[in-house]
Amino acid sequence: MKTTEKIAEKMNIVIVGHVDHGKSTVIGRLLADTGSLPQGKLDQVRAECQRNAKPFEYAFLLDALKDEKAQGITIDSARCFFKSKKREYIIIDAPGHIEFLKNMISGAARAEAALLVIDAKEGVQENSKRHGYILSLLGIKQIAVCVNKMDLANYSQETFEKIEKEYRAFLKQIGVEPKLFIPIAAFHGDNMVEKSPKLPWYKGPSILEVLDGFENAKNLEDKPFRMPVQGIYKFTEEGDDRRIVAGKIESGKISVGDKVIFLPSNKRSEIKSIEIFNVPSPKTIGAGNSTGFTLKEQIYIQRGDVMCRIDEAQPLVGPLIQAEIFWMGKKPMVFDKEYKLKIGTAKIPVHLKKIKKIIDASDLKKADKEIIERNDVAQIVLECAWSMAFDTAEAIEATGRFVIVDEYDIAGGGIISALVRDEQADVREQVQQREMKWDFSIVDAKERAVKYGHRPKLILFTGKVGVDKKSIAKEVEKALFQKSSKTYFLGIGNLLRGLDADVEKQKTARREHVRRLGEVAHILMDAGLIVFATASNLNDEELRLLQEVTDRSSLFIVNVGKNEFTGSVVDLNLSEKDSVSANSEKVLKLIEAQNLLSPSSDASIG
C-alpha cells in the first residue's frame, strides 16, 4: 500500500451562478475527475437514473438529501472535498435560486476564491450579476468565470467572447476584476481538469489549473492588532485565580509587556501573560489564534470591546456609520424600527438613519423606495444606540463587517465604508484624551470593587418634570446603602448652583450642564461609588453625550413615564402612576436580576 503524502494546504472555494447554469455539474465533474468519489457511487447514480428513466446528471451525485431530490434544486451550501496535486479543496456549493440567496451568502462568505458559472446558451442572467455583486461585497477577490455548456454552443469562440465582454463590463462597474474566463463543457469534462482538444482556440489553463493558481488567505499579522473580546473568564475551581480575557485575534500580533487599550471604553492595561491550555505560555501570538490573556491592571472590560495595541493605528469609534448592505430578511428593513447590529463580539441596538441608494444588484440601477427588501443591496447610514469600535472593511475586513438581526434572525449583512461624524464627535475626542492621560491610583478598580462589594455605576433617572424621579432615586439609594453599598445621590440642583454657577442660563448652556453632570459622575465612579442622578427631559443627543462621557457600560438608565427616546435604549421603563416604593422595588429587582453591581461579573450590555 502506498502512503499518500500529506497535503498541508487547504482552500475553501465556492461555485456560484444562475440557476441551471451547471454549478452542480462542475462540482460533480471535479469530484469525479480528481478521483474523489466513493467507489461505485457514480455507477450507482447512473443506474438509479436509468431505473427512473431520466437522463443522468452530475447534480444527482450531490443530492445527499431526500428533500433536495424532491425539489430538484440545490438548497444549501453542501460541502464536498477534492484534491489536486497542490492542495485539498473544500467546495461550498451555493444555490443559484434567488429564493436561497441567504444560503448562497452563507456559503460564499466562507470562501477564499470563487468560480462563477454562466451558461453559454443563456448568457449573462440576473443571478450571474447578483452573485458577482455579492462576491464583491463579501470581499472575495479571486474569481474565475466559467462559460459552461460550450458543447451546446458548438464550442464557438464568438459566443464565448461575447459573454466575456458583456460580463467583464458589468464586473468592472462594481470594481471586480476576474482572474480569467474559461470556456468549459462540464458535462463532458472539457477544460475541467485537462485542457480540451475541442476548444483549440482557448490558450488558457483548465479549471483545476486556475484553482491551483489561486492564493491562500494573506497573512493578517502585518495589520494593526485587533481582538474583539469574547469573554472574561475566571474559573475558581482548584484555586485558579487567573482572570483571562478571551478572544480570537483577527489581525496583527502582540507580546507580553505590550500596552493595550480596549475600545470603545478607553480602558488601558498591559499584557501580563498569554494563556493557552496544555501548552507552555508563548511570549508572542498573532492573527488567527483563539487565545487568552491576563492583564497587569485589573480593569472592567466587557464582551464586545475591541482590544488594540496602544502603539498602533486605532480603530474608528462612533455610533454612526456608512455601509453597504445586502438584505436577506423575510420582512423588509424599515425606518423607525430597532434592529441589533452584531460586529465582532459586540451586539448593539441600531436603526436605519438614511437610505443613500438602493441598488438593483442585477442591473445596478437605482431603485427609488423607502424600504430595503429581500435580496436588495443598499448604501445606507446606520445609527447605533451607543458608540462601537470598528474599522472600514477596506482597512481590516474582520472588524469592518457586520450583520443585522431582525427579531431572532440574521436578516442582513454589510461592510462599513466610513465613519460618519456625529454630534458627540468633539466630546468623544476630549474623553479619549482624558482617558489616555488619566492618572490612576495604585489601588486598581477591580480591587476597590471587591473591597466595597460592588462595582461603580451611574444610575440615571430621566423623564418629564413632575414624575417624581428624585424620590425613586433616593429610595433606591437608601435601600442599597442599607445593604452596605457605597452610594451617593448627586442632586442636579446642587451642581447647577455650584459647579455650574459660571455657565449662563441659556439654551446652549444645557449641553454643558449635562456634560459636567457626566464628568462629575465619572469621577465619583472612579472613586468606586454607586451614583444616583436625575435629569429631566433628556433627549437622545443629551443621553448620547452622557454615554460618551461616562461609558455606556457603567450607566443604568431608568426612564419614568412615556419613553420618548427614538434612537437610544433605556434599561428600565417605569410608569409615573405607580407608587414610589413600587417603582424603587422594580429598579432594585432588575439590578439584582442582571447582577449589575457584582464586583466579579463582567456582564455585557446589549
Partner: protein, 293 residues
Amino acid sequence: MKDLDKLESQSVYILREAYANFKNLAMLWSIGKDSTVLLWLARKAFAGHVPFPLVHIDTAYKIPEMIEYRDRLALEWKLNMVYGQNVEALKEKRTYPDGNLDRINCCKTLKTEALRNTLSGAWTRYRLDHNLKKYVVDENKEPYTGVIVGVRSDEEGSRSKERYFSPRDKRNDWNVGDQPPELWNQFKTDFAPGTHIRIHPLLDWTELNIWEYIERENIPTTSLYYDRGEGKRYRSLGCYPCTFPVESTAKNVREIIEELRTGKFANIAERAGRAQDKEDGGGLETLRKDGYM
C-alpha cells in the same frame, strides 16, 4: 497557521460564542472520538475548565468499556456529568435486542426520545456527584437552550448541510430548507421561546483531522478504537447490538492515522459499521430530522 491550528481556533471561537450567548448550555458527549475531541477543545477554550454540563444518553446497550471510560474521565477532569435514559422503554423491553422493535425504531426510542426528554428536562437527569463518586438525581430540570454537538460535515450527507448554530423548533425539528444565514463568524444566537439551538463546533473537521489532533494533544480515547490482536477495531462507536468493527490491524493512534492516509477507508463510509443507517434508504437522515445527532 497549520490546518489543525486553524480548525482548533475556529472550534474554540464557536464554543466561546456558545458560552457567551446561552444561559442553559450543555454539551453532548457520546464517549466517541469526535465528542471527546470536542470536550478537549472546551478545556482549551475555558483554560482547562468545562463550564457547562456534559450530557450522555445511555441506551443501556453501550459497550461497557465506554461507560467505564466516561466515568473515569468525568472524575479526573471534574466534569459536570449528566446522563439520561429511556427507563420506561427498557423496563417494557421495547427495544431491538429484545426483538420488539426494528433498528430504526429502537434508535428513536432509546436515543432520540431519551435525548429530547433529557434536554427538555421532562425526564429525570442523573448527575455525577464527585464526592459520592456516583450518580444522583439532578435537581436541575430547566431545559437546555443551547446544545453543543460533535457532528462533522464529512461524516455523512445530511450532516454536511448543518450550520455551526442550527435552530431546532419545539418538536426538535430541523428545517433543512430554511436555515438562517451564517456569515463572518456571526451566528444565530437569538431564538424564540420553546426553541433551542444546536451548536456544531466540529463541522469542518475530517476523520483524519480528529485522529491527528488526538495524537498531537495526546487525548485519551477508549481502546475500542484499536485492534487488540483480533485484526478488528471499531471506527465508530454505538450500541453493541448494532455496531460492528472494521477489519484493521491499527493498534494505536499513529497506526490509525497511517491507515486513514493510505486511503484504505476512502470509499467506505465511516458509519458503515452502524446498522441503523442502512434501513429505510435514508436511515440517519430520517433519524436526524426527529432530533437524532
